[in-house]
């Protein structure tokens, strides 16, 4: 397939996917729409993680913390300070971004697996912080947050309104990532992830970019958290998205989904969200085992993720080619002094 034809096919595929996404709420029952809304929320969080992992190869197991910060700042502001919803969402999103930027600082020095574990501990810490401030966060009892309601005079139902708000955000973010992917900054990020020394030699500024990408990534995931608060209406420190489990869900969705910018996070989120529940209905005792086994089987069959399965091209243009095997120290840090022959590893997921 020629370059331009495959690009056109990818565009057509994306257009079809977007159209389908737009039509969903018109053809499904409200409870399905609500379920899909949650999948879209997770897809946003995954898109956020993909920005970090896909472009720079850094693995964060701490994105649940940013999700939680987004959700809680939003929820607390609405509930305790009567801040208007939009303003609260913006504040929640930015707070997650700031927290992410703070974490970008250690990421200048701490790399690869070490960074992954630090973020893992961060993820484990959020519930502790939430319960320490249970006066305002509600701790495990949680916080009931008012949900997005349809604008006056709207012909949309509440569930449809929520769906479209979240879908709009997701599409904007994917578009943003797509543009970043083709930009100078996108190239610089990938160069930095591949080989810091060589990148610096070509003018890439690691500090700015590393902090920036951490901030941007956590901002997006925090936005997902904020949207979760105002679409689900209840957040608690035991809500899995805010615990390590959330980070694991995002990571799993990222890998299972594959590197297509839109289809990847969507497919990954859908599997991570729907599959366990569906199996659990069939056989609760075997559900976890089956889920784990299916995860493994999927990766054995489609190591580059669902979105890379045939028909491959039309699903989407592929996103960042990742990554220097961050949890596999064999290649991290990716140095120029790499003695390992990497000739056999040519494929990357994001």
């Amino acid at each position: 397939m020629s370059e331009s034809r495959s690009v056109r096919a990818a565009q057509a595929g994306n257009a079809a996917l977007v159209l389908a996404l737009v039509l969903v709420p018109l053809f499904f029952e409200p409870f399905r729409v609500t379920q899909f809304t949650q999948i879209l929320v997770v897809a946003i969080a995954v898109a956020g993680l993909n920005l970090l992992t896909g472009f720079t190869g850094q693995v964060s197991v701490g994105h649940s913390a940013f999700f939680g910060i987004g959700a809680y700042v939003t929820g607390v502001l609405i509930v305790h300070a009567a801040v208007p919803m939009t303003a609260a969402i913006i504040a929640g999103t930015l707070s997650g971004g700031i927290a992410g930027a703070l974490f970008g600082v250690p990421s200048l020095r701490i790399k690869g697996t070490h960074l992954a574990i630090v973020t893992l501990v961060l993820a484990a810490s959020l519930p502790a912080v939430l319960s320490t401030f249970s006066e305002i966060t509600g701790g495990t009892e949680g916080l009931r947050v008012p949900r997005i309601t349809p604008p006056r005079g709207s012909f949309l139902a509440a569930d449809q309104t929520r769906y479209y708000v979240v879908l709009g955000v997701l599409l904007l973010i994917v578009l943003g990532v797509f543009m970043l992917d083709r930009s100078r900054t996108g190239r610089a990020l990938r160069a930095l992830g591949d080989n810091e020394i060589a990148a610096v030699t070509y003018g890439v500024r690691p500090m700015r970019l590393r902090i920036g990408v951490f901030a941007a990534s956590s901002t997006i995931t925090a936005l997902a958290g904020a949207l979760f608060a105002v679409t689900s209406g209840f957040i608690s420190s035991t809500t899995s998205y805010m615990t390590i489990v959330g980070s694991i869900v995002f990571l799993t969705a990222l890998v299972i989904g594959g590197r297509a910018l839109l289809a990847g996070p969507l497919a990954g989120a859908a599997i991570a969200e729907l599959l366990p529940a569906q199996i659990s209905r069939q056989s609760p005792e075997w559900a976890n085992f089956a889920y784990g086994a299916i995860l493994i089987a999927l990766l054995l069959l489609a190591p580059e993720g669902i979105s890379s399965l045939r028909p491959r091209r039309w699903l989407s243009r592929t996103a960042p080619d990742v990554l220097p095997t961050p949890l596999q120290q064999e290649e991290a840090p990716h140095d120029t002094d790499n003695t390992h022959d990497q000739a056999t590893s040519t494929t990357h997921i994001g």
């Binding site: 160069a191 591949d194 070509y202 040519t346």
Partner: protein
């Protein structure tokens, strides 16, 4: 153009550079040669500010380089290649060259466009290939293309001819010389291909064990007994 004065650098137990002083004249090709472990790559690393020398000064057109961060060097017109090709595997060949071009966009120096550069180094056919499977010689050319695309003043080349046949070495030399004229480049060349070094450089600096042992015109250096015993062999 580039002035290196009394530069010294030691790694734990290894004195890699000892009081190195030499100069690179603008518009010429200066070769930096010497036996393995002489400190040539280390010298490059100091100039490109990946390493900071223990003592000594480095200046480029009068600007003190010691105080300059590595990431600012491309803006000053310094580009380099690496002895072991350091390409970005998550970018294709064109993407790698574009990283260079990204620097040039902000400089007022003459530069080749990405396509011109690819063409010049016969990489057009490989433009959308993944860099990991490239043969060694091609990797070297991509490195060179990336450096050229950044529109440099001063080009530091670390063994560009490694793994090329004689014929290919000749082509590379011709290409380098023609681009040098076109863009008004200055080249600092580290290379073990003696024929290439002698045939294209205007000035040769020879290092051994971290020290400069000879400095002069190619023909003079080539007959210097110290150079013969330390580097060329009998």
């Amino acid at each position: 153009m580039l002035r290196v004065e009394h530069l010294s650098l030691a790694f734990r137990g290894v004195q890699a550079l000892r009081d190195v002083t030499f100069e690179v004249a603008a518009g010429g090709v200066t070769a930096l040669i010497g036996p393995n472990g002489a400190g040539k790559t280390t010298m490059f690393n100091c100039i490109s500010r990946i390493l900071t020398p223990d003592s000594g000064t480095l200046s480029l057109d009068g600007i003190d380089l010691i105080g300059v961060r590595a990431s600012r060097l491309p803006e000053l017109g310094v580009a380099r290649t690496f002895q072991h090709a350091a390409l970005f595997p998550s970018l294709d060949v064109r993407g790698n060259v574009r990283i260079g071009a990204d620097v040039a966009r902000h400089a007022s120096r003459p530069a080749l466009s990405v396509d011109e550069t690819l063409d010049l180094l016969q990489l057009s056919a490989d433009a959308s290939r993944n860099t990991e499977g490239l043969p060694l010689g091609t990797k070297k050319r991509v490195e060179l293309a990336r450096a050229l695309a950044s529109g440099p003043h001063l080009l530091l080349l670390d063994e560009p001819a490694g793994g090329l046949t004689h014929e290919e070495v000749g082509e590379m030399r011709d290409t380098l010389l023609s681009v040098k004229e076109r863009l008004g480049l200055t080249i600092l060349l580290v290379e073990h291909h003696v024929q290439m070094v002698m045939s294209m450089s205007s000035h040769v600096v020879v290092m051994s064990s971290g020290e400069v042992i000879a400095d002069g015109a190619p023909s003079d250096v080539q007959s210097d007994p110290r150079v013969i015993s330390a580097y060329l062999g009998s």
